[in-house]
Amino acid sequence: MDTESLTEETLLHSGRESARVADFLRSQGLQLDDDVEFTVVLAAQGSIAATGSFAGRVLKCIAVDPQYLQSGLSAKIVTRLIREEYILGRTHLFLFTRPANVPIFSSFGFYIVHVVPSQVALMENVPNGIQRFLRTLSTSAPKGKNAAAIVVNCNPFTLGHKHLIEYAAARCDMLHLFVVSEDKSSFPADVRYRLVVEGTKNIAHVHVHKGGDYIISAATFPTYFIKEYQEQVETHALLDIGIFGTRIAPALGIVKRYVGEEPFCKVTATYNRIMQDVLPRYGVDLEVIPRLTSGGGAVSASRVRALMREGKLEQTRELVPDSTYAFLMSEEARPVIRRIQEAGQRH
């Protein structure tokens, strides 16, 4: 097919134009993810020949019309996306794709981070990204003989989290806390991390790490190539747990992972069930701890946020440690409170 006459368009998202891209993707068995920031389209007389997008540092939703396969269109698309990311100052890039597409992205200078066979491959544009991350982890904290891990979001850090952490720290010689780095929660990642550090500073042998790019929250996992919701949830869990089990745990000598019981959120419950099945294959045990309760309910970050939304800040006193309460009462917390109240968001 003649590719010389294709015109290139770029879109910063607006309703009508993304509908056109969404339709094209659907015709290829894909979807347009909600969080897409930028899209490039190559079109012939208005009809799309190829498209690609990104959200943050993740390239996604790349598709080429079957008539145009083997014409180098995906190379044009990926080049354009990378250039735009670099203009935004983002040079360490990722993509999630079906494993069958690994060779083509490999030819574009992407390297495998992890593959869940037949389901998903995570790739990055540097040859040693994950290795460097593991090195920073192991140099910041020595390998333990009996090390454990907890992965937390802490939006914000509560007494419920503290309870779980104290329980785990008492039963191992080194507890590694990984705070999810994604900024998709109402409390910014750096604040969440800081509150965890402050809230745990008096607990012995606890190391707090930033989750970085290799602890993948469900919020950031792209689902554009998976139709069924349940499959999206499971594929994300298998990828994230796979990276944890094959890379992170061995680098730090982690043999156990702790998680708080999750009675409400189905997604978390599925994730925990998969951890239960999969982690032992990597030599990691899982223990589920009942949640701390107070006043008839679990002490959870969502309860704290609900109180913030209702403007009842003083009532968070019994749910959070002093360090978190001090933050909530400070100037710095005002924009966070406002954001929670305006968005009316659960997260």
Partner: protein, 101 residues
């Protein structure tokens, strides 16, 4: 001359080479090359990249290159552009190969 930011140049299209250059954690010029013609021309490509950098006065850098069958002149041009962008200087005075200090 020191590389401060990350600079990129080139595309992933056939006959081109995509170059990314950034500061290196170690001494010397490190090149990570992906090439469709690695066996035939891998060494030559690395040689051209290294020589271009040395000619520009760059002694330490980490280069990531994805080659799609580029000729030497293309490789030189892309390397020079990437360095210009990484150092934010015009390093390509036409017809002269020395980078303006």
């Amino acid at each position: 001359m020191k590389i401060k930011d990350v600079g990129i140049a080139g595309t992933l299209e056939s006959s081109d080479i995509s170059i990314r250059i950034e500061n290196s954690e170690s001494e010397g010029i490190e090149i990570e090359l992906k090439s469709s013609v690695e066996n035939q021309f891998g060494n030559q490509i690395r040689k051209v990249i290294t020589q271009t950098l040395l000619d520009m006065g760059v002694q330490h850098a980490a280069v990531h290159a994805v080659d799609k069958g580029a000729l030497d002149c293309t490789i030189r041009a892309r390397v020079m552009t990437a360095v210009s962008r990484a150092t934010k200087r015009n390093c390509i005075p036409w017809e002269v190969d020395r980078c303006a200090e």
